[in-house]
Symmetry: C2
DNA sequence: CAGATTTCGTAATGACCGTTATTAAACCGC
DNA sequence: GCGGTTTAATAACGGTCATTACGAAATCTG
């Protein structure tokens, strides 16, 4: 019983997500959010809780709707294909929307006042979870012989995540998709392989 | 004539720099700055101007005092040494101070409200200037035969900057110096070379 | 239709934001 | 020591922040 909700909760969350994506947590005001969602302030509060809870909802949705290529990537047969899939899908995501380039997660992770420390920590934790999944996939690749026995899955995972994070920064700095693809190509040029003999150092033309 | 200044302008700017380094531009309040500098608000205003001008002063000082390894790196004889010097000095800088890990520039570049857009643009411009210097150095290396004729200096420069920015993010996420060194090692494993035959793909052990 | 319940929209809350009058104190040349 | 000048410190400014009472409107059950 009671009055029905007049706005679409999913659509409102999508609008909120885009604003946070562009400006980060503290860079976004509640007025920004209500204007983007087309919903009055108390309505957003009753639907999602306070600003921090709303950001958490947006973060969940970001992983569900935009980072859903990660599970797909992890299922690729070889570690090289996993890496390539993650790189090129990240580039697409980081440059697809001119209004909010880069990565939602990384954008909010770096700066913030002391009050926003819980939010930063939340982003740090989620990021670490993603890297752990990738590392475990590389450990499997090593066990399967897809990576050489000398390979270090943890270092390799950290390395590729560094490239991904760096591209998120560069996308925010206005880099084109083409430039980022050149970055990815360079990163993949050094990817280790167990079977084939590699000549990665001169693979760029 | 007139009353003498009772605080050390240089020391105040150093203190201010550290706070901005940790929290970014908007994450830092003027109260944070005056408390760190041990200087009352009007004194900071009279010495540096408003918050944006103060941040610009801090950015200048950051490049003078902490990124002074970049000119040294660019003077190394080979492009590989240039890259290695930049990577390992960046790691040291990004992990040296537990109170403000990562990179001052990258920390403030990603997020911010619309009011802070000029500051973000300032950081984007300075970052681009650094990458341009590196790219020009790689073009010289190519002309000198230090890099193969097939090398693409712009892509190579963007790639290494991506790794550097990614490490700045990871430092902010709590990565240890050792982990970042493994990342740098992986990044260098693929660095192109004109003379020696390369087997970068299996160079990790 | 009556009563209970939920949402909506206005408007207000106290706290903090960056910035600056204003007044008192310290220094200079004379 | 005195007038002119610069700095120091207190305290205030209007504006925006996130958050929420409160009363009107809308929907359900009975």
């Amino acid at each position: 019983m009671g009055r029905h909700r007049e706005f679409d909760v999913e659509k409102a969350l999508d609008a909120v997500l885009c604003v946070f994506w562009s400006k980060g947590y503290e860079g976004t005001s509640y007025t920004d959010l209500t204007e983007a969602a087309g919903v009055e302030r108390p309505a957003l509060y009753s639907a999602f809780g306070n600003k921090e809870a709303l950001f958490a909802h947006a973060l969940d949705r970001y992983y569900e709707r935009y980072l859903n290529y990660i599970p797909d990537a992890l299922h690729k047969p070889t570690s090289r294909e996993v890496a390539a899939h993650m790189l090129y899908n990240a580039i697409d995501l980081n440059t697809r929307y001119p209004k909010h380039t880069g990565c939602f997660n990384i954008t909010g992770l770096l700066a913030g006042s002391d009050d926003a420390e819980p939010v930063r920590q939340m982003l740090i934790d989620v990021r670490a979870r993603g890297e752990a999944l990738f590392r475990e996939r590389l450990e499997r690749a090593k066990a399967e012989g897809d990576l050489p026995a000398t390979a270090k899955p943890d270092a390799l995972a950290a390395y590729l995540m560094a490239v991904l994070h760096g591209m998120a920064v560069q996308a925010k700095a206005g880099f084109s998709r083409e430039t980022l693809e050149a970055v990815a190509e360079q990163a993949l040029a050094t990817w280790p392989s167990s079977s084939t003999s590699v000549s990665a150092g001169s693979s760029q033309d």
